[in-house]
Structures are given as C-alpha cells and as structure tokens.
C-alpha cells in the first residue's frame, strides 16, 4: 500500500513550474497598483475579496469535507461581534480582537460540529441545524442590550490609526485583503495535498469507506469546521472594521449565509479557485441588480434564487467543473 502522504508529494501535483510562479507573482505584484490606477474600483474589489475569503472558509467544510452548511452567517457574525465588542467596550485593538474572533468562531464551530457529527447528522439535516444555530444567535443578539440589541453597534472612528485597525482611506483594506486572499488560496491549495485535506475529500466521497480505512471522520470533520469557522470569522472582523457598523440583520441573518455559500457554489465547491471565481462573477452582478432594482430592496435575492436553481441544475460542479469538462473534451479531440 502506498503511503498517502508520499502519494501526495509525487502524484497530486502540489507543485507549479517556475514559470507559473513567475506569472502568479507578476499578477500579484501588479494588483498592488490598482488603488493608484483605478481608485473607483477599490470598493468593489474589496467586497469581491472579502466574500472570496469567507467563501473559501465555507468551501473547506462544505466543498472539501462535504458537510453542507446553511448557516455560515453564524461565524461571520461571531467574528464581527467579538472583535467589535472587544474594541468598543474594552478598548482592545481589533488586531488582538482578530485572533480572538477567529478562536471564538472556531470554538462555536467545534461545539456544533461535536454535537451534530457525534449524533450522526449529515446531508440536509446538518445544513438545517447550522441554519437553526445561526438563527438562535441572530435572535439572541437582537435582544442582547449590552451588544446594542437590534440597533447594532457603531464602531467609533478614531481617524487613521493603523494600530487600531482604522483607516480613513480604503487602500489599506485593499492591500490587507489582497495579502489575506493570497494566503488563503495558498493555504487551501497546500491543504488539498496534505494528509488532512485528502482525508476531508475521502470523507466527502464516502464516509463509511473512509472510516473503514481507519480515518477518524468525527475528528477530521471537526477540524474542517474549526478552519472553516475561523476563516469566515476573519472576514467578519474585516467587514466590521471596514463598514464601522454592524447589526444582527447584516451579520447573522440567513441572507448572509446565502451570500457566503453562493460564491463557491457558482465557482465550484471543493476547488481552490472556486470561491474567488464565484465572487468575481457574483459580486459585480449583484451590485448591478441591486442598483437596477433600487426601489425594491431585496429583489436582487430573486436573482440569487434563480441563479442557485440554474447552477444546481446545469453546473453541479460550478464553473471550475465546466472548465474541467471543456479541457477534457479538448484533450479527447486532440488525442
């Protein structure tokens, strides 16, 4: 029997040629020039990257480990509220709040994962239990007076204070997200070839077979949940610092779970580039539909619903799956 770790090194191609690295490096460096060249695009790019990172978080649990979640707004909200409460109430810098928020979300995630997976929940019932937990947090925070209740939390702006994670300019957020996005892509790409990443995929494909081969499926699903929750919470913290206002509806509401999961589903769940690709397409499209239907708030969700139906029917593996199919056809034609 081949050792899976050795397999990963030799067969799974976690290595890119020097030329590919060079091209990626040039693109990455080139993207740093955007705020100088096209400042009007920054807000959209920030939103694209923010949702790409949170979508990547969802992707780890649902795309790779196959446990579909309908309640990732829970981690978005826990992240946003943890760092904001620490800052507003105790004056702790969001830079310290950031790891705290990620830990808090991971802890909440681990608790839910232990409970649900311990009792063998899977498929639609796991998805719905995540939704139920997100709604319980939503309703509880609504009536939590200390955290501002339904009125939300206003994060006081102290001017440009890098130590307090506050910038009056948008560019620093852009650079920060660019680096975080690159790091998250690199991490998930590496993870695909790690023993852990392979176990996630084995559990997704056939949990009983994975168990039979000695994979501790409960343990690995919990790990997937912790990573996923922390990544989504990271997005929540940056969202709060960027907009300087959060309330239960803009963080914990089910709409946000849909926002987070729709991107990787469109791009291709279980692929490294899926969440980014989905975000590149959906974020501008949703901005356009939102401004087109301005007088009817929420109607852009109709478009989301239609999109979800179309993708599930015709692109079950997302756009990445479509690209793969095209590539395979081309190979066949040549061969």
């Amino acid at each position: 029997m081949a050792d899976p770790a050795a397999d990963a090194k030799t067969h799974l191609g976690r290595r890119l040629s020097g030329r590919t690295w060079l091209i990626l490096g040039v693109i990455f460096a080139g993207l740093h020039a955007v705020p100088g060249i096209a400042p009007e695009m920054i807000h959209n790019l920030i939103m694209i990257m923010l949702f790409a990172i949170m979508g990547q978080g969802w992707n780890v649990l649902s795309g790779y480990a196959g446990q579909f979640s309908f309640g990732h707004s829970l981690f978005f909200g826990v992240g946003a509220y943890t760092s904001s409460l620490l800052f507003v109430k105790l004056g702790i810098s969001p830079w310290i709040g950031l790891p705290c928020a990620m830990l808090a979300a991971a802890a909440v995630g681990l608790m839910i994962a232990y409970l649900s997976f311990r009792y063998g929940l899977s498929g639609p019932f796991f998805a719905l239990i995540m939704l139920a937990f997100a709604e319980i947090f939503h309703i509880s925070v609504m009536s939590w007076k200390y955290a501002g209740g339904a009125g939300g939390l206003l994060i006081p702006l102290k001017g440009t204070a890098p130590l307090l994670f506050q910038f009056t300019d948008k560019a620093p957020f852009y650079f920060l997200l660019l680096w975080l996005l690159a790091a998250s892509l690199l991490l998930v790409w590496k993870m695909e070839g790690w023993r852990m990443g392979l176990y996630f995929q084995a559990i997704r494909e056939n949990e009983d077979a994975a168990e039979a081969l000695g994979i501790d499926s409960l343990g690995f699903k919990m790990r997937a949940m912790a990573i996923s929750a922390a990544m989504t919470a990271l997005g929540g913290v940056i969202y709060a610092q960027y907009l300087l206002f959060i309330d239960p509806d803009s963080t914990f509401a089910t709409v946000n779970s849909v926002e987070i999961m729709l991107r990787p589903i469109i791009g291709g769940p279980g692929t490294v580039l899926g969440p980014l690709l989905g975000s590149l397409i959906l974020t501008p499209l949703s901005e356009i539909t939102r401004s087109a239907f301005q007088s009817y708030s929420g109607v852009y969700m109709m478009f989301y619903g239609g999109m979800l139906v179309v993708v599930v029917l015709f692109l079950p593996d997302g756009l990445m799956g479509l690209f793969r199919r095209i590539a395979r056809y081309r190979k066949k034609d040549r061969g």
Binding site: Y119, A132, G298, L308, V312
Partner: protein, 291 residues
C-alpha cells in the same frame, strides 16, 4: 395575572393553530417521505396560497374559504411543475443539491412576491374575523375555528386517499421501495410529481385558511416553514400520524411558551426544539423512520 383560564385560552388557541401546522407538516412530510427531499420552499408555497386567497377575496370578492377551490389546482400544478422540471433532473444527485435547489426556488418565489406585491403587510378585512364565541371567560374566534376545521378536513381527506385508494397504495409503495414499485408497473415519476403537487396544495390551503386572521407579506412563509420542520422532526420523518399529532403539540407548546417568553424569544423555542430532537431523538417521538 396567570390564571387557569388564561392557560386554557392559550391551549385552545394553540390547538386551533396547531391544526394548520399539521396540514403544513403533513404536506412537507409527504414530500420527504416519498422523495427524500427536504422542501425548503414549503413556506414560500404557503405564502403563495395566502396571496391567492387574499387577491381572490379583494379583487374578485370570493369568500376566502371558497378560494381554496382555486388554491388547490393552482398550487398542485405549480408543485408538480417544480418537481417535474426542476427536481426530477437531479433526483439522484447528492441530497444537498436538492436542498440547495429548493432554497433557490424559495428565494425566487419570496422575492418575486416582494417585487410584484411590495413588502406591505396586507390584512384581509372580513366581517367573519369579528365574530367570537364565548364559553365562560374563554373566547373562541370563528375564523380560527374555520382554519382548524378546514385544515383538519384536508388532512383527513389526504389520509383517506393515502390509505384507501389505489393512488395512495402506489404512493406508499413508491415511498417504501422505489425499485420494487417500478417493477410492479408503478410510474414512479408520475407518483413523484403528484406527491409534490399534493404537498404544495396542502401548504397553499393552510395559507388560505389563515388569511382571514393573519397578515400576508412576502416573507411570511419563513415563520411557518421552520415550525413545519420542527413538527416533522418531532413527529418522525415520513410518518403521517406523527406529523399530524406533532402539529397540535407544537401549536400548544408555542402558544403556552408565548405567555412566559417575550415575543421575540418565541422563535428560539422552535429552533431549540428542532436542534434537540434532531440530536437526541432523530426518529421523532412517534418513531417514524430515519431519513
């Protein structure tokens, strides 16, 4: 003051609304039991039923209870179409794809209603809503009794169809053993869209019966779909009588809970019951079968 009458009043109101929950849950459970699909769009279908009743009462001045005769065929066709054109192509795909699809349908329908009819809360003004009967200190509203009665009658009719007719036999066969049913010459694809149609019609009728005393707005279904999920898991997946009894239990539990908890916390009770049952008694208290 909390008196026995007060509690008794809550129990009566709970049973009356519970009958409606039962009908919603029976429809949801039929779809789940036969096709193994968790229909997230059930609340949106109920909302459509409410709008059909509302518009036929305001525009065509049709009695809201008679409008059920319009609701049933319309909702049946819509449900059958959803099953036939959207769900059937992915019926053997992984389960979460079907859930995503029904979530998409639900988002689409709810926001279509928002687009067409604005987010306004609409209340059907009917003289029936002012009629109350009094027994001692207890008051019983006519429209709630009607909602309960009509829902119960529909559930009973469905029960008779399922247990006493050939169609019902075919539905039960398809739900218990799909391949076996096909071998017996049952057109399972047809059974599936009939079931989805019946399920959608149940949701629509439930919506129509509460329109005289419940405001109609695009996201109203969200209130009921979670309750329906709770009822279904409580009664046991795929169990008709479980869903039926579960509806009454949840109706009473919610209405008693509302006495002791502030209004906004009421929903937490449903969600908590949902989580607890799924975790600790996934077969439901009436021992339905596992999904």
């Amino acid at each position: 003051m909390l008196s026995a009458d007060f509690i008794l009043q809550a129990v009566i109101n709970g049973i009356l609304i519970g009958g409606v929950y039962s009908l919603v849950a029976v429809g949801l459970n039929l779809i789940f039991g036969v096709m193994k699909i968790v229909n997230f769009a059930h609340g949106a279908l109920m909302m459509l039923g409410m709008y059909i009743a509302y518009w036929s009462a305001t525009l065509l001045s049709i009695n809201p209870y008679l409008s059920i005769l319009i609701v049933i065929p319309l909702m049946f066709v819509l449900g059958a179409a959803i099953q036939n054109f959207l769900i059937n192509p992915i019926i053997s795909a992984p389960e979460h794809n079907q859930l995503l699809l029904t979530l998409g349908v639900s988002l689409f329908l709810e926001n279509l209603a928002l687009f067409l009819w604005s987010p306004d809360y609409r209340v059907l003004a009917t003289p029936l809503a002012r009629i109350n009967y009094y027994i001692g200190d207890l008051s019983i509203s006519l429209v709630r009794v009607m909602a309960f009665g009509v829902s119960m009658a529909c559930s009973a009719a469905l029960f008779i169809v399922l247990t006493r007719t050939d169609l019902g036999k075919a539905i039960r066969a398809a739900s218990e053993e799909r391949e076996g049913a096909i071998l017996m010459g049952i057109n399972v694809r047809r059974i599936y869209f009939i079931c989805f149609g019946i399920g959608a019609a149940c949701a629509g009728v439930a919506g129509a019966t509460i329109t005289p005393f419940f405001p109609v707005y695009p996201h109203v279904g969200g209130l009921f779909v979670i309750t329906a999920f709770v009822v279904v898991v409580l009664g046991g997946m795929g169990s008709f009588t479980g869903a039926f009894a579960g509806g009454l239990i949840i109706g009473v539990a919610e209405s008693i809970g509302a006495i002791f908890l502030p209004g906004s916390m009421k929903a937490i009770v449903s969600f908590s019951i949902f989580i607890l049952i799924l975790l600790f008694k996934p077969t439901g208290i009436f021992g339905g079968r596992r999904g």
